[in-house]
Symmetry: C2
Subunit: 422 residues, 2 copies
Amino acid sequence: MRAGILVTGTEVLTATIRDENGPWLSEQLSGLGIELVEILVVADHPGDLANGLDHMKAIGIDLIITTGGLGPTADDLTAEVVSAFSGREMELDTAMEAKIARILARFAASTNLDLTTDALNEANRKQAMVPVGAVALDPIGTAPGLIVPGQGDGDPLVLVLPGPPRELKPMWAAALEQPLLRGVLDRATQLSKYRLRMFGTPESELALSLREIEDGGLPFDGLEITTCLRKGEVEIDVRYREAAAEAASRLRDEIRRRHERSLYSLDGSTVDEIVAGRLGGRRLGLAESCSAGLLAARITDVPGSSDYFAGGVVSYSNEAKRDLLGVDEELLREFGAVSAEVAEAMAIGAMARFDADVAVAITGIAGPGGGSDEKPVGLVHFNVRTAEGGVRAAAPVIPGGRRDVRERSALVAMHLLREMLP
Amino acid sequence: MRAGILVTGTEVLTATIRDENGPWLSEQLSGLGIELVEILVVADHPGDLANGLDHMKAIGIDLIITTGGLGPTADDLTAEVVSAFSGREMELDTAMEAKIARILARFAASTNLDLTTDALNEANRKQAMVPVGAVALDPIGTAPGLIVPGQGDGDPLVLVLPGPPRELKPMWAAALEQPLLRGVLDRATQLSKYRLRMFGTPESELALSLREIEDGGLPFDGLEITTCLRKGEVEIDVRYREAAAEAASRLRDEIRRRHERSLYSLDGSTVDEIVAGRLGGRRLGLAESCSAGLLAARITDVPGSSDYFAGGVVSYSNEAKRDLLGVDEELLREFGAVSAEVAEAMAIGAMARFDADVAVAITGIAGPGGGSDEKPVGLVHFNVRTAEGGVRAAAPVIPGGRRDVRERSALVAMHLLREMLP
């Protein structure tokens, strides 16, 4: 069972928009144990789309998923091109036409637009054309999806999905209920997998470890190992068939043994999830300077975080550090805003102002300007403390540009919180 | 002149990592007036890569750019596969071998790793193998790039670049200096382009306008118009050859006339850039509840923002609203934390605490819980004010999930600031 994803969209090809659908569908296919052979991005030109379909058929792909090109406008041609590719005529699905008309009527009623023009009726009819023998999937927006079988026995099945991720995701779920698609998907073998996460070990060092583990006699041939540097952490994905389960388990033990300090997640859980769990029943207060709200935003990205997150001060100016956190002006003058002393005072201030049990302070030089020999761009001081008297301070020089330094600051703070909280 | 990009990388295909190189190269090609036909992502399997090269040749692509697969390990096979595709033998480039050896020696000296093993020498030699007749590009990391001409006259030229963006970008610049690549690139015609940005007009309404403008007699055939919904705004890209310059200019005037209120950028500048410009010489203070630092993070994403950004309070709890912003407890009890009254009090508090000229307050229900009939999930109250007495309040119900509501809140606030500041 081999699949291909065909993304249509000039705006994706020209890098105006990032494709979310390809990666999302890739994860869904992986979860179903289906091998994804390629993702092809083409413009909204029928010729390019047809070339892509022919190519995927030629290399023996069983399931082609297209995304996009189902809208009402003239450049939306996916349904027609797929229909021709599968050697099927298109016919008007009158039930679907009525459904789309009802959706448009509801939309018109909720706006002041006059939508009962001929052009719209024509667009409605265009979207209700379905290849003979295909299954039409109910619209989430106004465009129906399609499951289109080939003519011959070895021909690929084509699943036609809309481009907007909010429409695509629920329609994928609906498509999975259809026997025509199920029949193809069920030909796949399930793979088991696990994901490890590390913070603080470079990917190159992990690569050396993996080589040593293999040289040490652990067979890797039943394992598919992917390592990836992702937002400052290393992720290790291991996929395996049942026969390689013992090797997969031994591999996990070996990595754990060699990287005990940096390997923080054995079950794929993120540092955000772990910290959220450990903050339960406490009250967190923040004082951020260079990260300027990114840690607060990260903490509150988790639903229910209001149970433990009291608040934060983004003390970008010295006056804000003084007036809102009570940092002594003397400290600012003597040690500068980016110093262990000011980080400590900021954390103590946040603890007091938010009446918190745990406080985090971050102050650093995000760049591009403001660095010196003594305090280079990327230098960030952290101070994490608990009301019971626990303290952790750190002052790494974080590499990269302004955005890297700011985002990595929030990440380092998350890991300091993780290490600090039992 | 038609180009294709071939991205190799199992980690990209499996959505473990996002591909940055495809979009970046797409923008470079567009800047050079070269039509990008497709981006194809394949795993690190030589067969899949060869299939991709054959497909691109078959559809008449003149320039293929590959990214990735140049490393020292056994699954890095791009150079070999491209060499076979172009019908060329590989030979050892001894000068390149010496260069790589020097790079590895420097790397070894800067670490404690013992890198003088046979395996490494072998890897070094592998990376120094160059197809006969190809141009080798000096390594940025340890892997050289390649420019490989085809055997026949209509065969595509293949530019082979490394996967890490930090190596790919400088190597692309170096490749542009090479006559072999220049000769192919110079066959392209330059396109002019402009970008408009709108906030507050749905994409469907813009589509109606475009149809009306075309029906009204403005010829679109020399224009390539791409509209795209991006992070809550609509972007319109128009590309055109010189002959269609007048039509392009008339199109801009027509869109402007019809959407004067929502069309805020005629030159592609972002709301962040516009607001940063208008904040110059002022002092901004923030009070954020549901957006919890996202507006502060967005404001400070701009280098030099410390000149006008004083700071912010992330007042997630009611106590923080009271203690750090001076919001009257009576207001919180009577109207609730998500109300016009509390938003106003938060903004007034931020103005005072940060001694600011401009203040913004955001308080809303990000969900998924916490909504009611009267105050549904997505309801967000904004209050933007200036020290001179200007005030703007708004309370939209923002659609989408928790993340959408939070991010869109910061966006709405940026636009309120833009409208408010002269």
